[in-house]
Amino acid sequence: MKHKTFFWFILPTATAMLLFIALPIMSVVTQSLFTPHEQVFKVVENCGPFGCTESTSIDAEATEALRAEAPLGRFAGLGIYLDRGHLAVTEVGDAWRNRDSIGDFLGSLANLPFYRAMGFTLTYTFTVTPLLIALGFVIAISVNSLHRHLKGLVIFFSLLPMIVTPLIGSLILFWMIDSRGVIGTGLQWLFSDPDLSLKASTGLTWVMLIVYGVWHAAPFAFVVFYAGLQTLPKDTLESAMIDGATRWQQTKYVVIPHLMPLVTFVALIQLMDNFRVFEPIVGFNAEAHATSLSWIIFNDLGGETRLLSSAATTSVLTIIGVSILLSPVLVRTWRDFSTKG
Protein backbone atom coordinates (compact mmCIF):
# COMPACT_ATOMS: atom_id res chain seq x y z
CA MET A 1 0.00 0.00 0.00
CA LYS A 2 1.30 3.43 -0.88
CA HIS A 3 2.48 5.52 2.06
CA LYS A 4 0.05 8.30 1.29
CA THR A 5 -3.00 6.00 1.18
CA PHE A 6 -1.83 4.30 4.34
CA PHE A 7 -1.57 7.66 6.05
CA TRP A 8 -5.16 8.59 5.22
CA PHE A 9 -6.51 5.24 6.32
CA ILE A 10 -4.67 5.28 9.59
CA LEU A 11 -5.32 8.93 10.33
CA PRO A 12 -8.56 8.74 12.40
CA THR A 13 -7.38 6.00 14.70
CA ALA A 14 -3.89 7.44 14.98
CA THR A 15 -5.23 10.89 15.87
CA ALA A 16 -7.46 9.46 18.57
CA MET A 17 -4.65 7.44 20.09
CA LEU A 18 -2.20 10.30 19.78
CA LEU A 19 -4.43 12.84 21.49
CA PHE A 20 -5.79 10.66 24.24
CA ILE A 21 -3.02 8.20 24.94
CA ALA A 22 0.30 9.33 23.49
CA LEU A 23 0.14 12.94 24.67
CA PRO A 24 -1.01 12.01 28.18
CA ILE A 25 1.75 9.41 28.40
CA MET A 26 4.33 12.03 27.46
CA SER A 27 2.81 14.42 29.97
CA VAL A 28 2.90 11.70 32.63
CA VAL A 29 6.54 10.92 31.89
CA THR A 30 7.37 14.62 32.14
CA GLN A 31 5.44 14.90 35.38
CA SER A 32 7.38 12.01 36.86
CA LEU A 33 10.59 13.98 36.42
CA PHE A 34 9.39 17.06 38.26
CA THR A 35 8.18 17.67 41.79
CA PRO A 36 6.24 20.58 43.25
CA HIS A 37 8.22 23.54 44.49
CA GLU A 38 9.39 23.80 48.04
CA GLN A 39 6.51 25.13 50.04
CA VAL A 40 6.88 28.32 52.00
CA PHE A 41 5.31 28.13 55.44
CA LYS A 42 3.88 30.73 57.70
CA VAL A 43 2.36 30.43 61.15
CA VAL A 44 -1.27 31.48 61.27
CA GLU A 45 -4.16 31.45 63.68
CA ASN A 46 -7.09 29.25 62.70
CA CYS A 47 -10.47 29.93 64.28
CA GLY A 48 -13.53 27.78 64.00
CA PRO A 49 -16.52 26.39 65.86
CA PHE A 50 -14.22 24.88 68.46
CA GLY A 51 -12.04 27.87 69.23
CA CYS A 52 -8.75 29.21 67.90
CA THR A 53 -5.41 27.45 67.46
CA GLU A 54 -2.05 28.40 66.05
CA SER A 55 -0.91 26.30 63.18
CA THR A 56 1.27 26.20 60.09
CA SER A 57 -0.11 27.05 56.70
CA ILE A 58 1.19 27.58 53.19
CA ASP A 59 2.16 31.07 52.16
CA ALA A 60 0.12 31.13 48.97
CA GLU A 61 1.68 34.24 47.44
CA ALA A 62 5.25 33.10 47.86
CA THR A 63 4.42 29.68 46.45
CA GLU A 64 2.54 31.30 43.55
CA ALA A 65 5.59 33.37 42.72
CA LEU A 66 7.73 30.24 42.61
CA ARG A 67 5.16 28.50 40.45
CA ALA A 68 4.96 31.41 38.02
CA GLU A 69 8.71 31.25 37.54
CA ALA A 70 8.88 27.53 36.83
CA PRO A 71 5.40 26.11 36.19
CA LEU A 72 6.51 22.51 35.87
CA GLY A 73 8.07 22.48 39.30
CA ARG A 74 11.50 21.46 40.50
CA PHE A 75 13.43 19.17 38.21
CA ALA A 76 13.92 15.98 40.17
CA GLY A 77 15.25 13.75 37.43
CA LEU A 78 15.15 10.17 38.56
CA GLY A 79 14.72 11.29 42.17
CA ILE A 80 11.16 10.07 42.49
CA TYR A 81 11.95 6.79 40.73
CA LEU A 82 14.62 6.03 43.29
CA ASP A 83 12.81 7.27 46.41
CA ARG A 84 11.33 5.09 49.14
CA GLY A 85 7.88 4.99 47.57
CA HIS A 86 9.21 3.46 44.35
CA LEU A 87 12.42 1.62 43.63
CA ALA A 88 13.80 2.56 47.06
CA VAL A 89 17.40 2.15 45.98
CA THR A 90 18.91 3.38 49.27
CA GLU A 91 16.66 1.26 51.45
CA VAL A 92 17.23 -1.85 49.35
CA GLY A 93 20.98 -1.26 49.51
CA ASP A 94 20.84 -0.91 53.29
CA ALA A 95 18.71 -4.02 53.63
CA TRP A 96 21.13 -6.00 51.48
CA ARG A 97 24.15 -4.89 53.46
CA ASN A 98 22.56 -5.51 56.83
CA ARG A 99 20.92 -8.78 56.01
CA ASP A 100 21.11 -11.82 58.21
CA SER A 101 19.85 -14.12 55.51
CA ILE A 102 17.99 -14.02 52.24
CA GLY A 103 14.76 -14.47 54.16
CA ASP A 104 15.58 -11.45 56.27
CA PHE A 105 16.37 -9.42 53.15
CA LEU A 106 13.08 -10.41 51.53
CA GLY A 107 11.31 -9.47 54.74
CA SER A 108 12.80 -5.97 54.60
CA LEU A 109 11.83 -5.70 50.94
CA ALA A 110 8.26 -6.60 51.83
CA ASN A 111 8.23 -3.57 54.08
CA LEU A 112 8.70 -1.23 51.12
CA PRO A 113 5.40 -0.28 49.43
CA PHE A 114 6.51 -0.74 45.82
CA TYR A 115 8.04 -4.18 46.37
CA ARG A 116 5.11 -5.27 48.49
CA ALA A 117 2.82 -4.35 45.62
CA MET A 118 5.11 -5.96 43.04
CA GLY A 119 5.12 -9.15 45.09
CA PHE A 120 1.38 -9.46 44.91
CA THR A 121 1.09 -8.18 41.33
CA LEU A 122 3.64 -10.65 39.96
CA THR A 123 2.21 -13.56 41.95
CA TYR A 124 -1.26 -12.67 40.73
CA THR A 125 -0.17 -12.28 37.10
CA PHE A 126 1.85 -15.47 36.90
CA THR A 127 -0.71 -17.58 38.75
CA VAL A 128 -3.90 -16.28 37.19
CA THR A 129 -2.77 -16.21 33.56
CA PRO A 130 -1.75 -19.88 33.14
CA LEU A 131 -4.68 -21.03 35.29
CA LEU A 132 -7.23 -19.12 33.26
CA ILE A 133 -5.80 -20.40 30.01
CA ALA A 134 -5.88 -23.96 31.29
CA LEU A 135 -9.40 -23.59 32.66
CA GLY A 136 -10.64 -21.89 29.49
CA PHE A 137 -9.17 -24.70 27.42
CA VAL A 138 -10.78 -27.46 29.51
CA ILE A 139 -14.16 -25.71 29.45
CA ALA A 140 -13.89 -25.24 25.67
CA ILE A 141 -13.13 -28.93 25.11
CA SER A 142 -15.93 -30.05 27.43
CA VAL A 143 -18.52 -27.72 25.92
CA ASN A 144 -17.45 -28.77 22.45
CA SER A 145 -18.40 -32.35 23.18
CA LEU A 146 -21.88 -31.47 24.42
CA HIS A 147 -25.07 -32.07 22.56
CA ARG A 148 -25.66 -29.15 20.23
CA HIS A 149 -28.95 -28.16 21.83
CA LEU A 150 -27.25 -27.67 25.14
CA LYS A 151 -24.33 -25.72 23.78
CA GLY A 152 -26.16 -22.42 23.42
CA LEU A 153 -27.39 -22.33 27.00
CA VAL A 154 -24.05 -23.42 28.42
CA ILE A 155 -22.09 -20.81 26.47
CA PHE A 156 -24.56 -18.23 27.62
CA PHE A 157 -24.10 -19.04 31.33
CA SER A 158 -20.35 -19.50 30.99
CA LEU A 159 -19.95 -15.93 29.85
CA LEU A 160 -21.56 -14.51 32.98
CA PRO A 161 -18.43 -13.96 35.07
CA MET A 162 -16.91 -11.93 32.27
CA ILE A 163 -19.83 -9.70 31.38
CA VAL A 164 -20.47 -8.33 34.86
CA THR A 165 -18.21 -5.34 35.47
CA PRO A 166 -15.29 -6.21 37.82
CA LEU A 167 -16.02 -3.63 40.49
CA ILE A 168 -19.60 -4.77 40.97
CA GLY A 169 -18.80 -8.44 40.49
CA SER A 170 -16.11 -8.40 43.16
CA LEU A 171 -18.41 -6.46 45.48
CA ILE A 172 -21.13 -9.09 45.17
CA LEU A 173 -18.64 -11.86 45.86
CA PHE A 174 -17.25 -9.88 48.80
CA TRP A 175 -20.71 -9.94 50.35
CA MET A 176 -21.01 -13.66 49.71
CA ILE A 177 -17.63 -14.79 51.04
CA ASP A 178 -18.03 -13.00 54.36
CA SER A 179 -17.74 -15.62 57.09
CA ARG A 180 -21.46 -15.21 57.73
CA GLY A 181 -22.38 -15.21 54.04
CA VAL A 182 -23.41 -18.19 51.94
CA ILE A 183 -20.00 -18.99 50.38
CA GLY A 184 -18.16 -18.22 53.61
CA THR A 185 -20.37 -20.59 55.56
CA GLY A 186 -20.06 -23.17 52.81
CA LEU A 187 -16.28 -23.05 53.00
CA GLN A 188 -16.38 -23.32 56.78
CA TRP A 189 -18.48 -26.47 56.42
CA LEU A 190 -16.22 -27.82 53.67
CA PHE A 191 -13.06 -27.42 55.71
CA SER A 192 -14.71 -28.18 59.06
CA ASP A 193 -13.25 -24.99 60.47
CA PRO A 194 -15.87 -22.79 62.13
CA ASP A 195 -13.44 -19.90 62.46
CA LEU A 196 -12.37 -19.83 58.85
CA SER A 197 -12.52 -16.34 57.46
CA LEU A 198 -11.15 -15.49 54.04
CA LYS A 199 -10.78 -11.86 54.89
CA ALA A 200 -8.76 -12.32 58.04
CA SER A 201 -5.51 -13.73 56.75
CA THR A 202 -3.16 -12.50 54.03
CA GLY A 203 -2.58 -15.91 52.47
CA LEU A 204 -6.28 -16.64 52.16
CA THR A 205 -6.96 -13.16 50.78
CA TRP A 206 -4.38 -13.73 48.07
CA VAL A 207 -5.96 -17.09 47.23
CA MET A 208 -9.39 -15.47 47.14
CA LEU A 209 -8.21 -12.71 44.80
CA ILE A 210 -6.49 -15.22 42.51
CA VAL A 211 -9.57 -17.44 42.39
CA TYR A 212 -11.66 -14.39 41.57
CA GLY A 213 -9.19 -13.40 38.84
CA VAL A 214 -9.35 -16.83 37.20
CA TRP A 215 -13.15 -17.02 37.54
CA HIS A 216 -13.57 -13.60 35.96
CA ALA A 217 -11.20 -14.05 33.02
CA ALA A 218 -11.67 -17.74 32.13
CA PRO A 219 -14.77 -17.05 29.97
CA PHE A 220 -12.69 -14.85 27.69
CA ALA A 221 -10.20 -17.66 27.12
CA PHE A 222 -13.09 -20.11 26.77
CA VAL A 223 -14.77 -18.12 24.00
CA VAL A 224 -11.56 -17.67 22.05
CA PHE A 225 -10.53 -21.34 22.33
CA TYR A 226 -14.02 -22.60 21.61
CA ALA A 227 -14.05 -20.64 18.38
CA GLY A 228 -10.64 -22.04 17.52
CA LEU A 229 -11.90 -25.57 18.09
CA GLN A 230 -14.57 -25.04 15.44
CA THR A 231 -11.88 -24.66 12.80
CA LEU A 232 -9.99 -27.78 13.88
CA PRO A 233 -9.25 -29.70 10.68
CA LYS A 234 -11.06 -33.00 10.96
CA ASP A 235 -8.68 -34.81 8.57
CA THR A 236 -5.63 -34.24 10.75
CA LEU A 237 -7.53 -35.65 13.69
CA GLU A 238 -8.69 -38.59 11.62
CA SER A 239 -5.23 -39.46 10.39
CA ALA A 240 -3.92 -39.23 13.95
CA MET A 241 -6.64 -41.62 15.06
CA ILE A 242 -5.85 -44.00 12.20
CA ASP A 243 -2.20 -43.91 13.24
CA GLY A 244 -3.34 -45.21 16.63
CA ALA A 245 -3.01 -42.08 18.69
CA THR A 246 -4.89 -42.10 22.01
CA ARG A 247 -7.31 -39.33 22.82
CA TRP A 248 -4.74 -37.64 24.99
CA GLN A 249 -2.10 -37.85 22.25
CA GLN A 250 -4.56 -36.41 19.76
CA THR A 251 -5.16 -33.48 22.06
CA LYS A 252 -1.49 -32.97 22.67
CA TYR A 253 -0.24 -33.22 19.11
CA VAL A 254 -3.14 -31.89 17.05
CA VAL A 255 -5.51 -29.73 19.08
CA ILE A 256 -3.03 -27.77 21.14
CA PRO A 257 -0.70 -26.79 18.29
CA HIS A 258 -3.72 -25.64 16.33
CA LEU A 259 -4.78 -23.40 19.18
CA MET A 260 -1.28 -22.05 19.87
CA PRO A 261 -1.73 -18.69 18.10
CA LEU A 262 -4.91 -18.13 20.08
CA VAL A 263 -3.11 -19.02 23.30
CA THR A 264 -0.51 -16.39 22.48
CA PHE A 265 -3.22 -13.79 21.90
CA VAL A 266 -5.04 -14.58 25.13
CA ALA A 267 -1.77 -14.66 27.07
CA LEU A 268 -0.82 -11.25 25.69
CA ILE A 269 -4.06 -9.58 26.65
CA GLN A 270 -4.37 -11.28 30.01
CA LEU A 271 -0.77 -10.71 31.11
CA MET A 272 -1.28 -7.02 30.47
CA ASP A 273 -4.63 -6.84 32.23
CA ASN A 274 -3.58 -8.93 35.21
CA PHE A 275 -0.48 -6.85 35.77
CA ARG A 276 -2.74 -3.83 36.09
CA VAL A 277 -5.07 -5.53 38.57
CA PHE A 278 -7.02 -3.01 40.61
CA GLU A 279 -10.78 -3.48 40.88
CA PRO A 280 -10.76 -6.73 42.92
CA ILE A 281 -8.57 -5.12 45.58
CA VAL A 282 -11.04 -2.29 46.01
CA GLY A 283 -14.09 -4.51 45.67
CA PHE A 284 -12.83 -6.97 48.30
CA ASN A 285 -11.55 -4.24 50.66
CA ALA A 286 -8.30 -6.17 50.60
CA GLU A 287 -5.72 -3.40 50.84
CA ALA A 288 -4.59 -4.57 54.25
CA HIS A 289 -3.39 -7.82 52.71
CA ALA A 290 -2.70 -7.13 49.06
CA THR A 291 -1.80 -4.05 47.10
CA SER A 292 -0.93 -3.68 43.45
CA LEU A 293 0.80 -1.08 41.32
CA SER A 294 -2.49 0.32 40.05
CA TRP A 295 -3.76 0.50 43.61
CA ILE A 296 -0.70 2.55 44.64
CA ILE A 297 -1.48 4.97 41.81
CA PHE A 298 -5.09 5.21 42.93
CA ASN A 299 -4.00 5.85 46.50
CA ASP A 300 -1.51 8.54 45.51
CA LEU A 301 -4.06 10.38 43.43
CA GLY A 302 -6.52 10.44 46.34
CA GLY A 303 -8.03 13.77 47.28
CA GLU A 304 -6.13 14.56 50.44
CA THR A 305 -2.67 13.60 49.27
CA ARG A 306 -2.51 14.46 45.55
CA LEU A 307 0.94 12.98 45.06
CA LEU A 308 0.84 13.55 41.33
CA SER A 309 4.53 13.03 40.60
CA SER A 310 4.53 9.81 42.57
CA ALA A 311 1.49 8.51 40.68
CA ALA A 312 3.08 9.49 37.37
CA THR A 313 6.26 7.61 38.30
CA THR A 314 4.38 4.46 39.27
CA SER A 315 2.46 4.65 35.98
CA VAL A 316 5.69 4.82 33.99
CA LEU A 317 7.06 1.90 36.02
CA THR A 318 3.88 -0.04 35.21
CA ILE A 319 4.34 0.52 31.48
CA ILE A 320 7.99 -0.54 31.73
CA GLY A 321 6.92 -3.59 33.71
CA VAL A 322 4.36 -4.59 31.11
CA SER A 323 6.91 -4.17 28.32
CA ILE A 324 9.32 -6.46 30.13
CA LEU A 325 6.58 -9.03 30.75
CA LEU A 326 5.45 -9.02 27.16
CA SER A 327 8.89 -9.15 25.58
CA PRO A 328 8.89 -12.93 24.93
CA VAL A 329 5.51 -12.68 23.23
CA LEU A 330 6.60 -9.63 21.28
CA VAL A 331 9.77 -11.35 20.10
CA ARG A 332 7.65 -14.24 18.87
CA THR A 333 5.29 -11.84 17.06
CA TRP A 334 8.31 -10.16 15.46
CA ARG A 335 9.56 -13.50 14.22
CA ASP A 336 6.11 -14.34 12.81
CA PHE A 337 5.93 -10.98 11.16
CA SER A 338 9.38 -11.20 9.57
CA THR A 339 8.93 -14.75 8.25
CA LYS A 340 5.51 -13.88 6.89
CA GLY A 341 7.05 -10.96 5.04
Binding site: F9, M17, T318
Partner: protein, 293 residues
Amino acid sequence: MSVKAFKQPPALRTLSTAFVVIWLILAAFPFLWTLWGSFKVELDFFSKGDWTDSLTGVRTIAEHGSAFTDNGYEGAWIQEEFWRAVFNTAIVCFFVVTISLTFGTLGGYALSRSSYRYTFWLLITALIFRAMPPITLVSGYLLPFFEWNLWGILPTTIIVLVAINQPFTLWMLHSFFQKIPKELDESAKVDGCSQFQAFRHVIIPIMWPGVITTGLFSFLLAYNDFAVTSMLLSKENQTMVPKIASFLGTTQTEGNVMFAVAAVVSATAPLFVLVMFFQRQIVSGLTQGAVKG
Protein backbone atom coordinates in the same frame (compact mmCIF):
# COMPACT_ATOMS: atom_id res chain seq x y z
CA MET B 1 -15.01 -41.83 8.77
CA SER B 2 -18.10 -42.35 10.81
CA VAL B 3 -19.04 -40.02 13.58
CA LYS B 4 -19.10 -42.99 15.91
CA ALA B 5 -15.34 -43.09 15.90
CA PHE B 6 -15.25 -39.63 17.39
CA LYS B 7 -17.64 -40.49 20.20
CA GLN B 8 -16.22 -40.37 23.66
CA PRO B 9 -16.08 -43.44 25.91
CA PRO B 10 -18.82 -43.25 28.59
CA ALA B 11 -16.36 -42.64 31.42
CA LEU B 12 -14.92 -39.59 29.73
CA ARG B 13 -18.37 -38.42 28.83
CA THR B 14 -19.57 -38.49 32.46
CA LEU B 15 -16.44 -36.73 33.60
CA SER B 16 -16.82 -34.08 30.95
CA THR B 17 -20.50 -33.50 31.73
CA ALA B 18 -19.81 -33.37 35.45
CA PHE B 19 -17.12 -30.80 34.87
CA VAL B 20 -19.44 -28.65 32.76
CA VAL B 21 -22.11 -28.82 35.45
CA ILE B 22 -19.65 -27.78 38.17
CA TRP B 23 -18.36 -24.94 36.03
CA LEU B 24 -21.90 -23.76 35.28
CA ILE B 25 -22.72 -23.69 38.96
CA LEU B 26 -19.56 -21.72 39.70
CA ALA B 27 -20.19 -19.28 36.89
CA ALA B 28 -23.88 -18.69 37.37
CA PHE B 29 -24.37 -19.13 41.11
CA PRO B 30 -23.31 -15.66 42.32
CA PHE B 31 -25.55 -14.05 39.77
CA LEU B 32 -28.56 -16.25 40.49
CA TRP B 33 -28.06 -15.63 44.22
CA THR B 34 -28.04 -11.89 43.56
CA LEU B 35 -31.12 -12.19 41.39
CA TRP B 36 -32.97 -14.00 44.17
CA GLY B 37 -31.71 -11.57 46.78
CA SER B 38 -32.65 -8.46 44.84
CA PHE B 39 -36.24 -9.10 45.90
CA LYS B 40 -35.39 -9.01 49.58
CA VAL B 41 -34.54 -6.26 52.05
CA GLU B 42 -31.00 -5.33 52.92
CA LEU B 43 -30.81 -7.06 56.26
CA ASP B 44 -31.95 -10.33 54.74
CA PHE B 45 -29.62 -10.35 51.77
CA PHE B 46 -26.64 -9.14 53.79
CA SER B 47 -27.63 -10.87 56.97
CA LYS B 48 -24.80 -10.99 59.45
CA GLY B 49 -26.81 -13.27 61.66
CA ASP B 50 -27.86 -16.13 59.44
CA TRP B 51 -27.21 -16.55 55.72
CA THR B 52 -30.38 -18.54 55.17
CA ASP B 53 -32.32 -15.33 55.78
CA SER B 54 -31.59 -14.49 52.19
CA LEU B 55 -33.41 -17.64 51.08
CA THR B 56 -36.38 -17.38 53.39
CA GLY B 57 -36.68 -13.62 53.51
CA VAL B 58 -37.51 -13.41 57.22
CA ARG B 59 -37.26 -9.66 57.54
CA THR B 60 -38.78 -9.05 54.13
CA ILE B 61 -41.88 -10.83 55.33
CA ALA B 62 -41.83 -8.78 58.53
CA GLU B 63 -41.57 -5.54 56.63
CA HIS B 64 -43.56 -6.10 53.49
CA GLY B 65 -45.83 -9.02 54.21
CA SER B 66 -44.42 -11.27 51.50
CA ALA B 67 -41.05 -12.90 50.92
CA PHE B 68 -40.57 -10.87 47.76
CA THR B 69 -40.53 -7.13 47.41
CA ASP B 70 -39.88 -4.90 44.47
CA ASN B 71 -38.65 -2.13 46.76
CA GLY B 72 -35.15 -2.28 45.36
CA TYR B 73 -36.30 -2.06 41.77
CA GLU B 74 -38.81 0.66 42.48
CA GLY B 75 -36.25 2.71 44.35
CA ALA B 76 -33.61 2.36 41.67
CA TRP B 77 -35.79 2.84 38.62
CA ILE B 78 -38.36 5.32 39.82
CA GLN B 79 -36.92 7.18 42.77
CA GLU B 80 -33.34 7.38 41.59
CA GLU B 81 -34.30 7.43 37.88
CA PHE B 82 -32.08 4.58 36.84
CA TRP B 83 -33.76 4.63 33.44
CA ARG B 84 -31.81 7.81 32.68
CA ALA B 85 -28.60 5.90 33.25
CA VAL B 86 -29.83 3.14 30.96
CA PHE B 87 -30.59 5.71 28.29
CA ASN B 88 -27.14 7.27 28.72
CA THR B 89 -25.48 3.88 28.47
CA ALA B 90 -27.39 3.15 25.28
CA ILE B 91 -26.19 6.40 23.70
CA VAL B 92 -22.60 5.92 24.83
CA CYS B 93 -22.43 2.28 23.71
CA PHE B 94 -24.00 2.95 20.33
CA PHE B 95 -21.62 5.76 19.48
CA VAL B 96 -18.55 4.10 20.95
CA VAL B 97 -19.15 0.95 18.92
CA THR B 98 -19.86 2.74 15.63
CA ILE B 99 -17.00 5.23 15.88
CA SER B 100 -14.60 2.64 17.24
CA LEU B 101 -15.38 0.21 14.43
CA THR B 102 -15.15 2.90 11.76
CA PHE B 103 -11.73 4.05 12.93
CA GLY B 104 -10.65 0.50 13.64
CA THR B 105 -11.63 -1.00 10.28
CA LEU B 106 -9.86 1.73 8.37
CA GLY B 107 -6.76 1.42 10.51
CA GLY B 108 -6.78 -2.38 10.70
CA TYR B 109 -7.24 -2.69 6.97
CA ALA B 110 -4.34 -0.34 6.29
CA LEU B 111 -2.12 -2.22 8.74
CA SER B 112 -2.95 -5.55 7.15
CA ARG B 113 -2.31 -4.42 3.60
CA SER B 114 0.94 -2.57 4.19
CA SER B 115 4.11 -4.59 4.14
CA TYR B 116 6.52 -2.07 5.56
CA ARG B 117 8.41 -2.43 8.81
CA TYR B 118 6.61 0.50 10.42
CA THR B 119 3.40 -1.53 10.54
CA PHE B 120 4.90 -3.82 13.14
CA TRP B 121 6.14 -0.89 15.20
CA LEU B 122 2.76 0.81 15.06
CA LEU B 123 1.09 -2.33 16.36
CA ILE B 124 3.61 -2.69 19.14
CA THR B 125 3.21 0.99 20.07
CA ALA B 126 -0.54 0.51 20.21
CA LEU B 127 -0.03 -2.44 22.54
CA ILE B 128 2.22 -0.43 24.83
CA PHE B 129 -0.41 2.31 24.86
CA ARG B 130 -2.83 -0.23 26.22
CA ALA B 131 -0.46 -0.86 29.12
CA MET B 132 -1.05 2.58 30.62
CA PRO B 133 -3.18 2.35 33.78
CA PRO B 134 -6.52 3.99 32.96
CA ILE B 135 -6.71 5.87 36.28
CA THR B 136 -3.64 7.92 35.46
CA LEU B 137 -4.94 8.71 32.00
CA VAL B 138 -8.30 9.84 33.30
CA SER B 139 -6.87 11.96 36.13
CA GLY B 140 -4.70 13.66 33.56
CA TYR B 141 -7.78 14.51 31.52
CA LEU B 142 -9.60 16.25 34.36
CA LEU B 143 -7.80 19.57 34.32
CA PRO B 144 -7.90 20.21 30.55
CA PHE B 145 -11.52 19.07 30.33
CA PHE B 146 -12.59 21.41 33.11
CA GLU B 147 -10.70 24.30 31.55
CA TRP B 148 -12.30 23.78 28.15
CA ASN B 149 -15.75 23.09 29.58
CA LEU B 150 -15.76 19.57 28.21
CA TRP B 151 -16.21 17.79 31.52
CA GLY B 152 -19.41 15.95 32.37
CA ILE B 153 -20.93 15.68 28.91
CA LEU B 154 -21.47 12.46 26.97
CA PRO B 155 -19.49 13.27 23.79
CA THR B 156 -16.27 13.67 25.78
CA THR B 157 -16.70 10.28 27.42
CA ILE B 158 -17.55 8.70 24.08
CA ILE B 159 -14.39 9.98 22.41
CA VAL B 160 -12.22 9.01 25.39
CA LEU B 161 -13.64 5.48 25.44
CA VAL B 162 -13.11 5.16 21.67
CA ALA B 163 -9.51 6.32 21.97
CA ILE B 164 -8.61 4.17 24.96
CA ASN B 165 -10.03 1.04 23.33
CA GLN B 166 -8.45 1.63 19.93
CA PRO B 167 -5.37 -0.56 20.61
CA PHE B 168 -7.48 -3.65 21.36
CA THR B 169 -9.81 -2.95 18.40
CA LEU B 170 -6.86 -2.42 16.05
CA TRP B 171 -5.21 -5.70 17.01
CA MET B 172 -8.37 -7.74 16.58
CA LEU B 173 -9.39 -6.16 13.30
CA HIS B 174 -5.85 -6.29 11.93
CA SER B 175 -5.76 -10.04 12.36
CA PHE B 176 -9.23 -10.46 10.83
CA PHE B 177 -8.23 -8.48 7.78
CA GLN B 178 -5.06 -10.54 7.41
CA LYS B 179 -7.25 -13.59 6.89
CA ILE B 180 -9.03 -11.96 3.98
CA PRO B 181 -6.91 -12.76 0.88
CA LYS B 182 -5.02 -9.80 -0.53
CA GLU B 183 -5.84 -10.94 -4.04
CA LEU B 184 -9.41 -9.72 -3.70
CA ASP B 185 -8.63 -6.07 -3.40
CA GLU B 186 -5.51 -6.38 -5.53
CA SER B 187 -7.67 -7.47 -8.44
CA ALA B 188 -10.07 -4.64 -7.74
CA LYS B 189 -7.19 -2.20 -7.91
CA VAL B 190 -6.01 -3.75 -11.15
CA ASP B 191 -9.52 -3.11 -12.45
CA GLY B 192 -8.98 0.58 -11.75
CA CYS B 193 -10.34 1.10 -8.20
CA SER B 194 -8.53 3.31 -5.77
CA GLN B 195 -7.53 1.71 -2.49
CA PHE B 196 -10.55 3.16 -0.74
CA GLN B 197 -12.93 2.01 -3.44
CA ALA B 198 -11.42 -1.47 -3.27
CA PHE B 199 -11.96 -1.39 0.47
CA ARG B 200 -15.52 -0.20 0.12
CA HIS B 201 -16.74 -2.49 -2.62
CA VAL B 202 -14.74 -5.64 -2.06
CA ILE B 203 -13.74 -5.83 1.59
CA ILE B 204 -16.69 -4.30 3.41
CA PRO B 205 -19.24 -6.88 2.24
CA ILE B 206 -17.16 -9.76 3.56
CA MET B 207 -15.62 -8.29 6.66
CA TRP B 208 -18.78 -8.51 8.81
CA PRO B 209 -18.10 -11.63 10.92
CA GLY B 210 -14.84 -10.18 12.24
CA VAL B 211 -16.30 -6.74 12.65
CA ILE B 212 -19.27 -8.01 14.60
CA THR B 213 -17.05 -9.91 17.00
CA THR B 214 -14.83 -6.90 17.57
CA GLY B 215 -17.93 -4.75 17.91
CA LEU B 216 -19.23 -7.02 20.64
CA PHE B 217 -16.03 -6.76 22.64
CA SER B 218 -16.08 -2.96 22.14
CA PHE B 219 -19.66 -2.90 23.33
CA LEU B 220 -18.79 -4.85 26.45
CA LEU B 221 -15.87 -2.55 27.19
CA ALA B 222 -18.07 0.55 26.90
CA TYR B 223 -21.00 -1.01 28.78
CA ASN B 224 -18.93 -2.15 31.74
CA ASP B 225 -16.50 0.73 31.94
CA PHE B 226 -16.09 2.29 35.34
CA ALA B 227 -12.75 4.18 35.49
CA VAL B 228 -13.56 6.63 32.69
CA THR B 229 -17.29 7.09 33.21
CA SER B 230 -17.10 7.58 36.96
CA MET B 231 -14.62 10.44 36.70
CA LEU B 232 -15.76 12.17 33.53
CA LEU B 233 -19.53 12.25 33.78
CA SER B 234 -21.74 14.54 35.84
CA LYS B 235 -24.63 13.15 37.87
CA GLU B 236 -27.35 13.52 35.23
CA ASN B 237 -25.23 12.00 32.50
CA GLN B 238 -23.98 8.98 34.38
CA THR B 239 -24.12 5.60 32.71
CA MET B 240 -25.24 2.48 34.56
CA VAL B 241 -22.07 1.34 36.29
CA PRO B 242 -21.10 4.63 38.01
CA LYS B 243 -24.77 5.10 38.90
CA ILE B 244 -24.73 1.75 40.70
CA ALA B 245 -21.51 2.73 42.46
CA SER B 246 -23.16 5.99 43.54
CA PHE B 247 -25.99 4.02 45.19
CA LEU B 248 -23.35 2.48 47.39
CA GLY B 249 -21.78 5.82 48.30
CA THR B 250 -20.05 6.63 51.55
CA THR B 251 -22.96 6.42 53.92
CA GLN B 252 -24.90 3.50 52.48
CA THR B 253 -28.24 4.74 53.68
CA GLU B 254 -30.77 2.09 54.40
CA GLY B 255 -32.34 0.93 51.19
CA ASN B 256 -29.78 2.41 48.85
CA VAL B 257 -27.74 -0.78 48.94
CA MET B 258 -30.73 -2.75 47.66
CA PHE B 259 -31.14 -0.19 44.89
CA ALA B 260 -27.58 -1.07 43.86
CA VAL B 261 -28.38 -4.80 43.92
CA ALA B 262 -31.55 -4.33 41.87
CA ALA B 263 -29.67 -2.08 39.46
CA VAL B 264 -26.90 -4.66 39.01
CA VAL B 265 -29.46 -7.29 38.03
CA SER B 266 -31.18 -4.82 35.70
CA ALA B 267 -27.85 -3.87 34.14
CA THR B 268 -26.88 -7.48 33.43
CA ALA B 269 -30.24 -8.55 31.97
CA PRO B 270 -29.84 -6.85 28.55
CA LEU B 271 -26.44 -8.48 28.22
CA PHE B 272 -28.10 -11.88 28.45
CA VAL B 273 -30.34 -10.99 25.58
CA LEU B 274 -27.36 -9.75 23.61
CA VAL B 275 -25.27 -12.84 24.23
CA MET B 276 -28.17 -15.16 23.45
CA PHE B 277 -28.80 -13.33 20.21
CA PHE B 278 -25.22 -12.96 19.09
CA GLN B 279 -23.60 -16.12 20.39
CA ARG B 280 -23.44 -17.67 16.98
CA GLN B 281 -21.83 -14.55 15.57
CA ILE B 282 -19.27 -14.39 18.37
CA VAL B 283 -18.19 -17.94 17.73
CA SER B 284 -18.25 -17.83 13.95
CA GLY B 285 -16.62 -14.43 13.89
CA LEU B 286 -13.71 -15.62 15.92
CA THR B 287 -13.58 -18.68 13.72
CA GLN B 288 -13.28 -16.60 10.59
CA GLY B 289 -10.49 -14.59 12.08
CA ALA B 290 -8.77 -17.25 14.20
CA VAL B 291 -7.15 -14.30 15.88
CA LYS B 292 -3.43 -14.57 15.71
CA GLY B 293 -1.18 -13.51 18.53
